[in-house]
């Protein structure tokens, strides 16, 4: 079951890897901002409409699911984002995470080519890894080292066969903005935990609510991102006339009327349906039914995200014919594949999975729940009847982190009378 879902993540990344191949031809005619608008306006609309249709469809079997409930989610506050209104959170993720990230990703492809641009992915993974405060073991060190060597080889291979546009600082600035905004997106995208009333709904609807919630969230984020392209290009219009950013912004407004024509090209359709809608549907379906005992979805998703740059490097050389030494290509693909393996070993060798049963002071369950709700590592919490009062399912990055959690958050809690730890040795079913 998990294997099937892992393949879904893999397939989504392969489709994303094909994205530069589809857009690179369009850049010769259209502004990068117009291609961005095409992807996110139509992509967002398709995803949102899919969410609405599925809501109406599932309503027949699960009456608790309806458009009102999605409206309640949209009106709620994000507890992981200083209780900011969900639309405020969407606006931050949409503008920085998508408008800046993807438009400058396109910019970078246009001016530096696919191979140099994909360097941004491993750099972001390195930055995320460094800032994650995870334990640094031998495998994580090797993982980071392998990514760094792959980045150097891609750069060196391209510079050997350098083309004139590598000299232009505009492309490098775009690559920098793309990399930084991608790092921000990786850190912020998951900061939207299920709220208490939503947890009940997920259980009642066997995970269906999770998919609908994700479709609604990404649909609105995409539409907000599409809207943000107007202020962004508006600012770029203020730049000097000889600036490439300004020229692209001018071109964007001149070509706005061609959006319909662009939509009907095979590249436009692939960009919207193949490399956007399908990818997110695959990821959402995998995440909604992700088994609890395996590595968390986020970890697998991050682990396999290296497939995207690896695929883009291969497709960039083989399909777009970007100049790159073939021996370097083999080494880079090998190193990127090796990085997946090293990261997997790092994640699994240290990971601690455990059931923890708690006996509580009578009438204090609500308080304990509120105190533990945001504790990182607690994956699920169930109120039970029997010898215990609460049963937690915990995943920690290491035994040290796990012991800290048990000592500081559970054993020292004034309303927790007894803590019983059951470390999972092996998941048998």
């Amino acid at each position: 079951m998990q294997q099937q879902k892992t393949w879904m993540i893999f397939l989504a990344n392969v489709l994303w890897a094909l994205l530069p191949i589809a857009v690179v031809e369009l850049f010769q005619t259209y502004s990068v901002f117009l291609i961005f608008l095409l992807r996110f306006f139509f992509g967002g609309a398709f995803i949102l409409v899919t969410g609405i249709i599925l809501t109406l469809f599932y309503k027949r079997n699960h009456p608790e699911i309806n458009l009102k409930i999605l409206g309640k989610y949209l009106r709620s506050q994000n507890p992981d984002y200083r209780h900011l209104h969900q639309f405020g959170y969407f606006a931050i993720v949409g503008s920085i995470g998508f408008t800046i990230h993807i438009s400058f990703f396109f910019f970078s492809i246009k001016f530096l080519g696919i191979l140099v641009t994909v360097i941004g992915f491993p750099i972001s993974l390195i930055l995320v890894s460094i800032f994650s405060k995870e334990t640094m073991d031998m495998f994580k060190g090797l993982y980071l080292g392998v990514l760094i060597i792959a980045i150097i080889l891609i750069g060196a291979g391209r510079i050997q066969l350098a083309e004139a546009n590598l000299q232009d600082p505009t492309g490098w600035l775009a690559l920098l903005l793309f990399t930084v905004s991608l790092t921000v997106l990786m850190n912020q995208m998951a900061k939207d935990p299920l709220q208490r009333w939503e947890t009940q709904l997920v259980i009642q609807t066997h995970g269906v609510y999770k998919i609908l919630r994700m479709l609604t969230k990404i649909g609105f984020i995409f539409l907000i991102a599409a809207a943000f392209i107007f202020p962004l290009t508006g600012i770029l219009l203020l730049l000097p006339a000889d600036s490439l950013f300004q020229q692209e912004a001018v071109k964007f407004y001149a070509q706005l009327g061609s959006l319909g024509t662009l939509f009907l090209t095979w590249q436009g359709l692939f960009l919207i349906l193949g490399a956007t809608v399908t990818c997110y549907l695959l990821l959402f379906a995998a995440e909604a039914y992700w088994p609890r005992s395996a590595l968390p979805f986020d970890t697998w998703s991050s682990l396999l995200s290296i497939v995207e740059p690896a695929g883009s490097v291969i497709f960039g050389v083989l399909i777009v014919n970007e100049q790159f030494p073939i021996d370097y290509l083999f080494i880079v693909v090998f190193l990127l594949s090796l990085s997946i393996l090293l990261r997997y070993v790092h994640e699994t060798s240290n990971k601690v999975i455990a059931y923890v049963a708690l006996s509580l002071v009578p009438q204090r369950e609500k308080q304990v729940f509120q105190d533990l709700y945001h504790v990182k590592g607690i994956q699920s919490m169930a109120s039970v009847v029997g010898d215990y009062d609460l049963i937690l399912f915990i995943q920690s990055s290491s035994i040290v982190a796990f012991n800290k959690l048990v000592r500081r958050k559970l054993e020292s809690h004034p309303d927790v009378e007894k803590v019983k730890v059951f470390l999972v040795e092996e998941v048998l079913k």
Binding site: A190, R196, I203, V384, E425, E426, V427, K429
Partner: protein, 83 residues
């Protein structure tokens, strides 16, 4: 709405593989983990009614050799399920 039960198993020495194999055949048991601590196995079961859970114990679990005792925690409410 399905009822979830978490069942803790204490087993005789060396009986873990045999009991786990038997438990795997029960369709209502959705997850089995071998654990350290006061118990040897933890299983999660999903049933539509408590009577079904009773039947599983009477007709299946209680008949398995190798089980010393069990403790069952019936989930009243799932308070958190992180996405």
């Amino acid at each position: 709405m399905p009822i979830t039960a978490i069942i803790f198993f204490s087993l005789k020495h060396g009986a873990s593989a045999q009991v786990a194999q038997a438990l795997k055949k029960i369709p209502e048991i959705t997850k089995i983990s071998s654990v350290t601590g006061d118990f040897d196995l933890i299983a999660e079961a999903q049933v539509e009614q408590l009577e079904q859970l009773h039947d599983i114990f009477v007709n299946k679990i209680d008949t398995y050799e190798g089980i010393i005792n069990t403790t069952t925690a019936v989930v009243l409410k799932e308070l958190l399920e992180k996405s």
